[in-house]
């Protein structure tokens, strides 16, 4: 008989959380801390979703989405997780750009961007200040018709180089383009580019291990290899889930699965009204990614002068559509020195590019393998500009594509960063359609990335907790449910 991954699970919970991405994990932990009984179901054999890693023979550990996150993670980890997690967050101080327009190194904070824009790009200090203040002052309720492109044109007319400096990292961080609403840029930009770029010491594996331990301490029932087939709904209210062939009832469900998958596959459109379905249908998914993972031989070192993150490009101009092309001219390199995992003697490099699912989905098996190999080779060629003897130092290299991301996270089209802006309103409107059903996970650009996903998990947990209290049976004390 196959192993029963639900062995010992109860028949009823206050809340079932589907998916253990950072939003799902954080929602589950927050709800359990508020005294709710929580079941967390993850289809993969690992927790973390996109916040993940993999191991290769020879002791190499590759991080997938640990290139950098904003300072705000410190506060969110301290508050919604533990002091130990928060205290492991360290700054990446050398962020580099190298493209035909400029080459520079920055600490990636407001002061340093101001210095660069004034000294190297000859922009008046007052303009820089006005731009930063405008970006920071933007909030969700502002006008949504102004685009990122228009915002730049207002402050830096005709300055392609300035746009590249201010936009390229954000495009990599969340796939946004010059056509997206300026407010999404403003919110992400002021989070990201005000206090520098940070990473997690010990790697993603350590973070997720610490989170797992904390979930158990909070009382969450954590289950892997539990693929939720259906969210159960009766008379406009959620009643539970069907998972691994078993029905489990719940007063609320939080889906951390892709928002469109949640609506159209896990629930089914017959449970939503027509206008809502049209809005949900119209939500555009964000792009996917390709990555190349390269490990140096044990003990081989990288010169720290390479920096931590390098935005490199050979494209003469910055165009967000070019960044998606399979004919890659722009890559972000993350250099991982042994200090990433203190005690290790490994140096690794991960190259990331944005990519379109369609470009990879229709290849034959041979074409697909050949394209992956080509991606590895061209990446090594590009890297040789910075690490001339890379091929001699190399121990292992392989590539991932949009299909890889789809396989592991079940995101439609392997979407790396959830949805475009309109996805947030649809995600927020789900509970008005079906009582007790919520979505938490990368949507709307601003709620994506490690910090965005985590904070969105908390925002949704607050809604769920409030719903549970409003609809709650007063006698369910924590002890009563244990018996």
């Amino acid at each position: 008989m196959p192993k029963d991954f639900l062995q010992g699970a109860r028949d009823h919970y206050d809340c079932v959380v589907i998916g253990s991405g950072l939003a799902g994990l954080t929602a589950a932990n927050t709800l359990a801390r508020s005294g709710q009984s929580v079941l967390l179901l993850e289809q993969h054999y690992k927790l973390g979703g996109m916040a993940t890693w993999f191991k290769r023979p020879g002791g190499h550990i590759f991080d997938i989405s640990l290139h950098g996150f904003p300072f705000g993670m410190v506060k969110s980890c301290r508050r919604y997780w533990t002091r130990e997690i928060a205290d492991s967050i360290v700054q990446l101080k050398n962020i580099r750009f190298d493209n035909p327009m400029f080459s520079l190194t920055t600490t990636f904070n407001r002061d340093d961007f101001t210095r660069l824009l004034v000294e190297q790009f000859a922009i008046p200090a007052a303009t820089v200040r006005a731009f930063f203040d405008t970006a920071r002052g933007m909030n969700f309720f502002d006008d949504q018709s102004t685009t990122v492109g228009q915002l730049f044109e207002r402050f830096f007319p005709g300055r392609q180089d300035v746009i590249r400096l201010l936009m390229e990292p954000i495009t990599y961080a969340n796939g946004s383009t010059l056509e997206d609403p300026a407010i999404s840029y403003g919110i992400v930009f002021s989070n990201f580019m005000s206090k520098g770029v940070f990473t997690f010491e010990g790697g993603t594996d350590r973070l997720i291990k610490l989170m797992h331990a904390e979930l158990l301490r909070s009382g969450v029932d954590v289950r892997i290899k539990c693929d939720v087939e259906k969210i159960l709904v009766r008379e406009g209210r959620v009643t539970g889930v069907r998972v691994n062939g078993r029905e489990i009832s719940a007063r609320s469900v939080v889906s951390n699965s892709n928002v469109k998958t949640t609506i159209f596959h896990l629930v089914g459109k017959e449970h939503f009204d027509r206008t809502f379905c049209q809005d949900a249908e119209a939500v555009r998914l964000n792009n996917s990614s390709c990555q190349v993972y390269m490990a140096l031989k044990p003990g081989e070192e990288l010169d720290e002068g390479l920096g931590d993150l390098l935005f490199s490009s050979t494209a003469p101009l910055f165009r967000t559509d070019l960044l998606l092309s399979r004919n890659v001219t722009s890559r972000t390199f993350s250099f991982y020195y042994p200090r990433t995992r203190p005690g290790s003697n490994r140096s690794l490099i991960v190259s990331s590019t944005n990519a379109r699912y369609q470009d990879w989905a229709d290849l034959s098996a041979e074409e697909y393998e050949a394209s992956k190999q080509d991606l590895v080779e061209t990446t090594l060629d590009a890297l040789a500009k910075y690490v001339p003897d890379i091929r001699a130092k190399l121990d292992h290299a392989e590539a991932s594509t949009p299909l890889t991301f789809r396989h592991y996270t079940k995101h439609m089209e392997g979407a790396s960063f959830g949805t475009k802006f309109e996805g947030l309103a649809v995600s927020r409107a789900i509970p008005q359609q079906i009582g007790g059903l919520y979505h938490a996970g990368s949507v709307g650009i601003i709620m994506s990335g490690w910090l965005g996903a985590m904070n969105y998990g908390v925002i949704v947990a607050n809604d769920v907790d409030s719903w549970l209290m409003k609809t709650g049976s007063p006698q369910t004390s924590p002890t009563a449910t244990v018996l």
Partner: protein, 86 residues
């Protein structure tokens, strides 16, 4: 709870949320946001703590009432008057 006790509750919560801030000189009628480094997640935390500790529900539309200490206490007074301070 009396208004004075409610104020103490809020200060307790703020102390947890902003451990590095000095709360002794907080002005009653000036927005908290102008005196402390608080963002929208911090206000959400205040709401969550009040629900956790006292089962007080604050609907999203009412979050604006939490602007100053004075307005917060005034808003919470009728909701918390029958509760005992923990």
């Amino acid at each position: 709870m009396t208004p004075a006790e409610i104020k103490e509750v809020i200060l307790d919560i703020l102390e947890d949320i902003a451990p590095d801030e000095d709360l002794s000189g907080l002005k009653e009628d000036v927005p908290l946001r102008e005196q402390l480094e608080l963002d929208s997640m911090d206000f959400l935390d205040i709401v969550m703590e009040l629900r956790k500790r006292y089962r007080v529900q604050i609907p999203e539309d009412d979050y604006v009432e939490l602007s100053t200490m004075q307005s917060t206490v005034k808003y919470l007074a009728p909701l918390m008057k029958d509760l005992q301070k923990a």
